[in-house]
Every structure is written in structure tokens, then in C-alpha cells.
Amino acid sequence: MTQATTQAAPSTAVSAAAARTRWLQDNGVYVAVGVLLLFNAVFTANFLTVGNFTTQLVQAAPVLIVALGMALVIGTEGVDLSVGAVMALAAAIIPLYLGAGWLMAITMALVVGVLAGAFNGFLVAKVGIQPIVATLALLVGGRGLALVIANGQLVQLRDPTFLSLGTDDVFGIPISVLIAGVLALVIAAVTNRTTFGRQLVAIGGNRKAATLAGLPVTRVLIGVYAITGVLAAIAGVLATSRLAASDPADMGLLMELSAITAVVVGGTPLTGGKVRVLGTVFGVILMQLVRATLIKHNLPDSIAQMIQAAIIVAAVYVARERR
């Protein structure tokens, strides 16, 4: 026979602590960015310069653009492993059409992105394949296709208008940063203010219920993956113009992991049903600052990787959902 008695702690202290963890859970990523900025301001030479901030934003821009799409896909309880491969495809397409003008080249790259994304969406929504496997196929095959298109080689680009995408700025804001910012606003509006956005979150929250509620599940899913595809292609275009070369072998390598990390660190759960756009933006900035800090302090690769691991765990730990 068992005897068990449980006694509880006074409730006021509990609820105060609960409120604090709740606040941290919602704002952890902002706090982390703040802490890292503070650390750098004090301990990193030449950190507080306009040039430095510009560099961080320019480097973060393509990751952010991909992460925005990833956040949507994750919101539907999916994931897209093919984003890096789609970036490579976009990169491979550009030199083929640059002869017909920069606009043509970019358009074709984006078209390929939409098609690749819609293909993923089709596999997930229509055929019913689990997202991680459906997009794994394109991760493996997509980069191969990009290399086939480019004959495996890096191509130096010289179209000045195209290259200016990577080098020019508007009122001091680099074009790529501007594009990333505008896209973040658009995606935020889409998720929070449109039928599509709310349906997307509902599908991620409970697909069966969403289907029974008559939601256009297939259409929304294909749409979400297509958006992710086109965003990856945009990121591919911007990264290519900044590199001044089309490099399908390395373009977007491991981007899927960076993007997913940023999204999750930003407070969007992998279980779907919730999308945090601002969190994603800060998740990207956090990971960018971490990388920058490690390089600026000239840490060896080994230590840098271990510290990154620790920071990811710490950031997700404070933001985790309590049981």
C-alpha cells in the first residue's frame, strides 16, 4: 500500500516567478540580442561603427529572407530542407539569362524558385509525403541539378546593374538589407492580417480540424512552400550579386540549418501552429552577431563551434514552452 503526501509552496512567489519566465519566454531572443550587443560594445574593438552594423545586416539579409519563408513552413508544422539547394539553382540560372538583361535573369531565377517550392508543396499537400523527406529529395537533387546547369563551375559575373544589387545602397541602406526589411514587413502582415496567414497557422495547429473546417488546406500548403521557394531564390540572387559570381557548388550550403535555427531561436515552435516574424528577424540577428563575435575575437573554429552550440541551447532554453 502506498502513502504519499504532497505539500505545496505558497502561491504568490510561484506566480511571480511564473510571470517572469513567461516574459522571458516571449522576449528571450530580444534580451539575448541586447546582451550580445552590450558585450560587444564593451569588449569588441571597433564594434560601434556604422560600417560594422552595415556589414552585419548585409550578411544577415539573405539568411533572413530564407528564414522568413522557413518560419511560414514551420508554422504549418512542416520544414523545408531544400532552401539551400534552391539558392544554388537560382545562382546557376542567373548567368544563363544575364545576356538578356538583369531583369530577365532575376525573373527566371525567381520562377525557378516558385516552381521548386510549388513542387515541394505538391509533394507535401497532394501526395502526402512528410515535409522533411519531401524536401530532402530536392536538397539532394536540386544542388546536383544546379551543378549540371552550371557544368559544375563557378562563373564570374560582370553585369554592372546586377552587381549593384549587392553593392549599392539607398539613403545609406544597402539594397539587400532594404529588400530583407520590406519582405519581413510583408510576411508579418501576411501572417497576422490575412486569411491566408491565419489559415496557415490553423493548418499547422491541427490539420485534421482545419480540413474539417473546410479550409483550403492543399492550396495554402502549396502556397506556403512556393513562397518559401521564391524567398530562397531571392536570397540566392542577392547572395550571388554580392559574391559577384555564380557559385552553385557552395551557394546556400547548410542554409537550411541556419534558417531553421534562427526561426526556432526566435520563438517559433517546430510543432507548428504559431509564427513569430519579429522573433525570426531577431533570431537571424542573434546568430549573425554570435558568428561575428566569434570571428572578431579570433577564436579557433573548434571553440567557435562549441560556443555557438552553447548559445543556441541557452537561447532556446529560456524561450521554451513550459509543460
Binding site: 545576356g99 564570374q156 554580392r242 557552395d250 572578431k296
Partner: protein, 326 residues
């Protein structure tokens, strides 16, 4: 736009010296059968994707030479995957290759593949990266550059260009690779006697242009006083140029750049005045590799290591030697 197409023009790698620890390797010692190059099936196992011009030129050189000598070439590319390279080599043997040329991905780990070749009495010539297995037993010989020496020569160029004063950032090659280790060691040894030159940052750019560029962008911001960059291959050096230009600096002038390889892009940049110097790492192993196989077939002794002589490009010769670059 200009794709960096493979060119097998330019000088083939030639033996600089024959370093032999102990006696060389003769066919009689191995008991391998004699094989006539003409009509023979030769397998070539490439290690990495050909996005790097070095790899493109290397493969092209082997292909051209095989064609020239009337050998049938089987080609595989391990795409930077060690296990795939082992399978590749085994499948080359399986498909009937009687002679093998291998560009190893890494110094270690190819033992099972070498054993398979040994079992079938297929001689293996390794090129470019040196493996730590036994020459003559596990493989025939190694043909390639002395990477430590390349680092030292890069250091000489750097000292010359900076006048022995400056702050240097090193863009390291991929971690876990003997090329990276040796080129770093050579360079550091080379500047050891020059107190005016200090290394202020060492970060990996993984032999990749975009990573080299990204790291350089960070370093310019945190160390605005950097005056020199040593990149362990041209691709990273070219990436650094893009980064420096974007930051409003003049590469080759404000910031000296020295790297290793000898790709056309880099040598062109020297000619244009925005790059300092390139120590060549000659990828055109074709003729030397086939010569070696031929000699071995004839029964001659082959040295354990064949170190090749590498050229050098700087502002004085870049323009006229441009055609030699790959």
C-alpha cells in the same frame, strides 16, 4: 559572362627534385604485371567538386594526357566524401582499371581503397595531397607540391610587398586538411624572422570564395588596421578582394594580398593591380603522372615522392604569364 573554363594550356607540372627516403620503387619489387599505357584502362579518382579552378585544371590535364597516350580514362568525383572516394576507387578497379591516379581528399583514410588496389595488383599514383600510407606498398608514389614550401614562399612575397611591416590576417583553408596545416606552418615559419609582421587574425574560409569574403568583411570591421591578407588559396583571396572593395579599400594597395594556387582570376587581379602575389600550386599533373606510370611499367625505379616545382606570380610578371594561369 566568362565562365572559368578548364584550360590545359600552361606548363605542366615538372619534377623539381626527387626525394627518396631509401631506395625507389620498381615493378620487380612489387611483382605487378607490366601494362602498356596505350589502350590501357586508367582510373582517375578526383576528390572535390570542380567549382574550384584548381580541380578543373587538374582533371582536364589528366584527361588530355590520357587521350594523348591512347589510354582509356575512367573518371569519378567523390564530392568531398571520403567514403565515396573509397567506393569510387573500388568501383574503378571493378570496372577494369589497371592503373590508378588518385587525388586524395585527405591524408588519411584511404587505406581500404589502397588495399583493394594492392589485391588486384593495380599501381596507384597519388597526386596533389600526400597520404600517410606506405609508398611502394600501399601506393606507388606521390606527385605534388611541397605545401610548407608554398607557405614559405608566400611569406617571402608578403615580406617583400609590405617591407616587413604590417598586420596580417590569414584566411585558413578547410579544417582537418594537411594542405591547410602545411601552408599555415610554412607561412608562419617564413615570417618568423620578421618581427614587423604580426598575424592579427586567423579564421577559416574553408577554401571557399564566399566564406572567404564573409570572414574578410568581419575582419575589416574589427581590425581596420589590417594591411595584409594571406589566403591559403586563390578562391578565398578573390573573395577577400570583393570584401575589401565593398568596404572602400584598395586591395593590392591599402591591403596586400598573397595567396596560393595560380588561378586565372587571381593572376588577372595582379595584372589589374588589385592583388599582390600568387604562389602557384600547379594542378597539371597529367604528363608527370603518366610518365611515372610508363617508367614503372618499363621496370624503372620510381622515387617515393616527386615534388614538383611551382611558379610564382607578382606584379612584375603577371601580365605576361597570364596565359599560364588556369
Amino acid at each position: 559572362e566568362t565562365p572559368t573554363t578548364a584550360s590545359s594550356e600552361g606548363p605542366a607540372a615538372s619534377a623539381a627534385q626527387n626525394q627518396s627516403a631509401g631506395p625507389g620503387c620498381a615493378r620487380s619489387k612489387t611483382g605487378y604485371p607490366q601494362i602498356d599505357l596505350k589502350g590501357a584502362v586508367v582510373g582517375f579518382s578526383q576528390s572535390e567538386k570542380e567549382a574550384n579552378p584548381f580541380r578543373t585544371a587538374e582533371t582536364q590535364s589528366i584527361r588530355d594526357e590520357a587521350a594523348k597516350r591512347g589510354a582509356e580514362l575512367l573518371y569519378t568525383n567523390a564530392q568531398s566524401d571520403l567514403n565515396k572516394q573509397i567506393s569510387d576507387i573500388k568501383s574503378l578497379i571493378d570496372r577494369g582499371a589497371k592503373l590508378l591516379i588518385v587525388a586524395p581528399l585527405n591524408s588519411d583514410g584511404l587505406q581500404p581503397a589502397f588495399d583493394a588496389a594492392k589485391a588486384k595488383q593495380v599501381p596507384v599514383v597519388t597526386i596533389d595531397r600526400k597520404v600517410s600510407s606506405q609508398p611502394c606498398t600501399d601506393y606507388l608514389t606521390f606527385i605534388g607540391s611541397d605545401f610548407v614550401e608554398q607557405g614559405k614562399r608566400a611569406a617571402q612575397q608578403m615580406i617583400k610587398a609590405t617591407g616587413g611591416n604590417g598586420k596580417v590576417a590569414i584566411l585558413l583553408g578547410a579544417s582537418g586538411n594537411n594542405v591547410t596545416v602545411d601552408r599555415t606552418k610554412g607561412f608562419k615559419d617564413g615570417i618568423a624572422g620578421t618581427p614587423g609582421l604580426t598575424v592579427v587574425a586567423e579564421q577559416t574560409g574553408e577554401f571557399d570564395r564566399s566564406k572567404g569574403q564573409a570572414v574578410m568583411e568581419q575582419l575589416i570591421q574589427s581590425n581596420p588596421d589590417i594591411t595584409a591578407v594571406y589566403a591559403e588559396n586563390d578562391e578565398m583571396g578573390v573573395g577577400a578582394v570583393t570584401a575589401l572593395k565593398a568596404a572602400g579599400k584598395q586591395p593590392g594597395k591599402d591591403v596586400k594580398i598573397v595567396s596560393v594556387d595560380g588561378t586565372r582570376n587571381a593572376v588577372q587581379l595582379i595584372a589589374d593591380g588589385s592583388y599582390t602575389a600568387v604562389v602557384e600550386s600547379n594542378p597539371r599533373f597529367g604528363p608527370l603522372a603518366f610518365d611515372t606510370l610508363e617508367k614503372f611499367g618499363k621496370g624503372d625505379e620510381i622515387p617515393n615522392t616527386i615534388v614538383i616545382s611551382d611558379d610564382e606570380y607578382d606584379s612584375t610578371n603577371a601580365a605576361q604569364k597570364l596565359a599560364n594561369a588556369y
